[in-house]
């Protein structure tokens, strides 16, 4: 494996993804990420001069909707997915701006 993921990197990625990993899981994740980066390096060997970066695999473009209200009030249904609700709103841990 050419790419070695440092402890700092796995810690940082964990924070960004809001994941808490055990030491064993961290070691496994480091290996997996290293292998992924090796694969990316391999792709880098290809000559892509003059090739436009592709973001979508389907040959579809310009899918629009007209500006017309089509949805009605489905609050009850949506809130039924929430672990907790109050006054028609989703309850979340106290958060400050």
């Amino acid at each position: 494996m050419a790419n070695i993921i440092s402890d700092e990197t796995i810690e940082y990625v964990g924070i960004l993804a809001k994941l808490e990993l055990s030491d064993a899981e961290k070691e496994q994740a480091k290996k997996d990420m290293g292998r992924m980066l090796d694969y990316i390096d391999k792709l880098g060997e290809l000559d892509t001069d003059g090739v436009e970066p592709m973001s979508h695999v389907f040959p579809v473009q310009n899918v629009f909707r007209e500006d017309m209200v089509t949805n009605s009030d489905t609050r009850e249904q949506l809130l039924s997915n929430a672990p907790e609700q109050k006054d028609g709103m989703f309850v979340v841990p106290k958060t400050f701006d």
Partner: protein
């Protein structure tokens, strides 16, 4: 000698677009709905839901770009900006990083010295607004309302081309006027449909490099923006003079205290890990689409000014003021279309309307009286059914609650008394009761007649035609 500093300012302006529905779903954008009643699986980030772009959002964004001399991106797409915050149900905001819809534009502003200057526009991109967090006062939790989640925004990013608060405000006013003329947004700072974040740094006059900049948020009036700029400029100069470094950070302006403080940085919030949104397909802007949008562009201020001169023959001063706000121009045109009295309509708008707006602190967008009723009021004065001071009283009521002036005048008995006999009788009484003034008048004091007219109007409770009073008075004297 003390060092001279220059302030360098760039703005990020968010504008809420005036669409009926959200950017990626068919939920209403109307204000005032009960919490979460304008939501669906898309705008609450339910797994498996798919966003579809509202065509009107794209058209408004392009229209603003064309009106600000931008290049329109012919191949565009959306990207995901990843961060965790409860007002963002998907854990990413759909925005445009790599291929924003408009780039490299600018608007012309007038500088304090009376010159002209172009403020460059780096880019304009489309994105979605977040939900609203409400803090529960009773329990240790927050509540989320997603009615605003997915409301379409454009973010207009300027170049760091401004050098003073005056230039910033001139730029914002110009931008607001353009967008209002397009009908793309009402751009109300107080209500948040236009929000400006100020990026500011200072450097010594003549320096080539920019200083370290800070970003200031929570500015909801032009006055707050001007004060925040002044405050931040001084704070940075003090730091530099003390030999300390300016830290690149986001600060929140507290306008009541007149100071700013650094916002708690959300953990590693700078790393947004943008990537193309696979759910939204690319946007190809064709020549036809551009032509269509161009053809729909409304008449802008300079064109309107030229037409007013030609069509209505009112003074330049009036034209300048009336076209200064889209809503005022609309009101003017609609009223003139009914009563065909351009100068009189202009007088009402520039005189009483402006006076009451100032006195009662009403924004032009919030004016309540209709063109129909203003036209009726003008007709009432023209036909001498009411005199001008009664008209002003009636207008004040119209300004508050858009009453029908014809009905109001009828109900309150405000019509001018055209009964010459009654008027003559009152005037005779006034003459008999004020011998001193009558003498003064006969001794050549022309002004004395003014007093007698006033006494007559008072006796008639204001409901007389002053011209007629004058005429009868002179005759009897």
């Amino acid at each position: 000698m003390a060092k001279q500093y220059e302030t360098v300012i760039g703005l990020e302006v968010h504008v809420e677009l005036a669409t009926k529905t959200k950017i990626f779903c068919g939920c209403s954008t109307a204000f005032g709905g009960a919490p979460n009643t304008h939501t669906c699986p898309v705008c609450t980030g339910m797994p498996g839901s798919l966003p579809v772009l509202n065509k009107q959002v794209l058209e408004y964004a392009i229209a603003v770009g064309l009106a600000t001399d931008c290049e329109i991106t012919r191949y565009g797409k959306f990207d995901r900006k990843n961060y965790f915050y409860p007002d963002n149900p998907q854990n990413y905001q759909i925005s445009q990083l790599y291929l924003p819809i408009c780039r490299n534009g600018g608007v012309e502003i007038e500088t304090e010295e009376g010159g002209k200057k172009i403020v460059g526009i780096h880019e304009i991109h489309m994105e979605e607004d977040a939900g609203k967090l409400v803090h529960d006062e009773w329990e240790d939790c927050s509540l989320v309302d997603y009615n605003r989640s997915g409301v379409p925004l454009i973010e207009i990013v300027s170049e760091p081309d401004m050098r003073s608060a005056e230039e910033v405000i001139a730029y914002l006013e110009k931008l607001r006027l353009i967008i209002q003329y397009l009908g793309a947004s009402d751009c109300k700072l107080q209500e948040g449909s236009m929000r400006a974040d100020v990026n500011l740094s200072v450097r010594e006059v003549g320096a080539e490099e920019f200083g370290t900049r800070t970003e200031m948020k929570n500015l909801n009036s032009f006055k707050a923006i001007a004060r925040a700029i002044e405050g931040e400029r001084e704070r940075q100069i003090d730091l530099i003079e003390e030999g300390k470094a300016v830290v690149q950070e986001t600060r929140r302006w507290d306008d009541t205290k007149g100071e700013s403080y650094a916002m708690r940085s959300k953990e590693d919030a700078q790393d947004y890990r943008y990537f193309p949104d696979p759910d939204l397909v690319p946007i190809i802007v064709s020549d036809e689409m551009l032509d269509e949008i161009r053809a729909k562009q409304p008449e802008f201020r300079t064109e309107k000014m030229a037409r007013y001169k030609e069509e209505y023959d009112i003074p330049d001063y009036d034209i300048d003021i009336i076209t200064g706000a889209k809503h005022m121009a609309d009101l003017f045109e609609a009223t003139v279309a009914i009563c065909n009295q351009p100068k009189k309509v202009s007088n009402w708008l520039m005189g009483e309307t402006m006076r009451l707006m100032k006195e009662k602190e009403v924004d032009v967008e919030d004016l309540r009286f209709s063109p129909e009723n203003l036209a009726k009021l003008i007709t009432l004065v023209d036909s001498k059914a009411i005199n001008s001071s009664v008209a002003k009283e009636v207008f004040e009521v119209m300004f508050e609650e858009d009453i029908d002036p014809e009905k109001y005048v009828e109900e309150k008995g405000l019509k001018t008394v055209n009964d010459e006999g009654a008027l003559r009788k009152t005037i005779e009484e006034v003459i008999a009761g004020n011998p001193q003034s009558v003498d003064d008048y006969h001794n050549g004091k022309e002004k004395a007649i003014g007093f007698l007219v006033g006494q007559t109007m008072k006796a008639m409770k204001g409901k007389a035609d002053p011209g007629m009073v004058n005429q009868i008075l002179k005759e009897l004297l």
